[in-house]
Symmetry: none
Subunit: 226 residues, 2 copies
DNA sequence: AACGTCATGCTGACGAAGAAGCAATTGGAT
DNA sequence: ATCCAATTGCTTCTTCGTCAGCATGACGTT
C-alpha cells in the first residue's frame, strides 16, 4: 500500500501530531526526511492523501489530519475513547456512527457573484450522507439574495452541489457565465442556446450561447438554519 | 490541521469555557495570546471556524462555541461522532470526525395530521450540529403539503424541531390543536387568542383560544434533498 | 542492452496564507 | 446616548504550499 518513504513521512507526521498537536510544515518534513526540496514532500503528501491515510485542506498551512494508520504503525486512529456525553442530547444514541459527511462551504452565490468568491473555503458543514451520491464530488454554497425564492431557496440557505457538467432541462445548477460570474439558476436548453431562469418573477430569464455557459454542478440538497 | 497559534487560541477558549462557562471576549483573547490588536484574534477565530472547530454567531458578543477539539486537546466534545466513509474513493478523503448528530424523524406533518402520526420514529437523519442548541431536545418531521410554501418550506422537506413550549410571535412552530392535530404554522398571539397562520394564501389563518393550542416545538432547521 | 515506468530527488520561482499592527466603523447592550 | 465588543480596511513581513522542469536509480519488459 505504501512505499517506505510514504510510511516514513506518515510516521513522522503522526509523531509530531502526538508530541505537540501541530502538524509539521513542508519545510519541517523536508528536514526530517533529509530532503533538500519541499516538492518531494508535496508528492508524498499527495500520495498519502490519495491512499486515504490523511486528509487536508488545500492551500492552508499545516492543514493535515491523519485519518488512519497502517497496521505497521499501530492500526487505526479512530476515537477509541467515546466519552459518555455530558448533558447528553437525549433522543439520539451517542455511540452510534452518523451517516453524514463534512463538506466545505465554498463561499456565497447569487446572481452576479464573481467566480473568485466561490474559490475559498469559508467553513465546513455536515450534511446527511443520504443527500450525496455514491460517487462524485460535492461542495456547499451559501445563497445570497432572493432570486430562487419561489423554488423554496431563501437568502442564507446552504445549498449542496454535486460537481457535474451535465444537467437536464429544469435542473437547478451552478452555472459559470462567460467564465466570469457564477449563478444559481434553473437551466433550459433550446437548440444551441441556453436559458438561465431565476425562480422569481422579478428577475428575467437570460439566454446565452452554449459556449458562454459552463455548468459547474447540480443542486442536490439544501440546509437552512433558523 | 491547526497552526500553533490557532491551537493556542482554541486551547485558551476551551479552558475559559471549562472554568467559568463563558467564552472570552476578543480583548481577553488578545491579552492571553499577547497580541496588540484584536484583528489578529479575529483572523484566528475565522480560521478555527473554517476548520470546523468552533461555531459562532456573527455580531454577537462572546458568541463562540466549541464544536470539537483536536486529538491533542483531549479529543471530542459532545455532539461529535465518527463518520462511516460514504463511498470514498480517489480524491475525496472522508472526514474522521463530523460535527453532526442523528435525529429521529417522527413522521409527517401538515395541516390536519393526527398526532399519532408523529409518535413513532420512521428513520434517522443526520443534521449539522450548528443547527442545534446546546441544550434542549430535538427531533425531525417530514413536511406534507404546500401550506408553508411561501416560507420556503416545500412538500417533502425535513424540518428540524426543537422541543419547547414557548414561542415568539412570528415563529414557525409545531402546534397541537385541541390535543388532536399537529400542524406546522406561524404563530401569533393577541390577548388570549392564538392565531395559526399558514404561509400560503390558499389557507386561511385560524384562531383559537389559548387553551386549545399547545406548542410542541419550534422550527430550527430544514433539510431538503433533491 | 534498450526501453518504459515509477518513485524519488532537486532547484527555483511564485503566489497565497498566516500573523501582526493601526485606525475607523458598525452593532449590541444598557 | 454611550460604552464596549466586534468587524473591516489597509499595510507589512514572514511562512508556507504549489508547481514546472529536469535528473537519477530501480525494476521489469522487450
Amino acid at each position: 500500500m505504501l512505499t517506505k518513504k510514504q510510511l516514513d513521512l506518515l510516521d513522522f507526521i503522526h509523531t509530531r501530531l502526538q508530541k505537540d498537536g501541530v502538524p509539521p510544515s513542508f519545510d519541517e518534513m523536508k528536514v526530517a526526511l533529509d530532503l533538500r526540496s519541499k516538492s518531494g514532500i508535496h508528492r508524498l503528501i499527495t500520495a498519502l492523501e490519495e491512499r486515504g491515510f490523511i486528509r487536508r485542506l488545500a492551500h492552508r498551512a499545516r492543514a493535515i489530519e491523519i485519518i488512519r494508520l497502517p497496521d505497521s504503525l499501530g492500526g487505526t486512529v479512530e476515537d477509541v475513547a467515546e466519552a459518555p456525553t455530558p448533558a447528553n442530547q437525549g433522543t439520539a444514541p451517542a455511540a452510534a456512527t452518523i451517516a453524514a459527511m463534512e463538506l466545505p462551504v465554498m463561499g456565497r452565490i447569487a446572481a452576479g457573484v464573481p467566480i473568485e468568491a466561490i474559490n475559498q473555503i469559508s467553513h465546513q458543514v455536515a450534511v446527511p450522507a443520504s443527500m450525496l451520491s455514491a460517487q462524485g464530488q460535492h461542495f456547499a454554497l451559501e445563497v445570497r439574495g432572493d432570486s430562487m425564492i419561489e423554488a423554496g431557496i431563501n437568502d442564507g440557505d446552504i445549498v449542496v452541489i454535486r460537481e457535474t457538467s451535465v444537467a437536464d432541462d429544469g435542473d437547478v445548477v451552478v452555472a459559470l457565465v462567460e467564465g466570469q460570474e457564477a449563478t444559481l439558476k434553473r437551466i433550459y436548453r433550446k437548440g444551441t442556446s441556453v436559458a438561465l431562469e431565476a425562480a422569481n418573477p422579478a428577475y428575467e430569464t437570460r439566454r446565452y450561447r452554449q459556449d458562454q455557459v459552463k455548468v459547474q454542478g447540480r443542486l442536490v440538497g439544501l440546509i437552512r438554519t433558523y
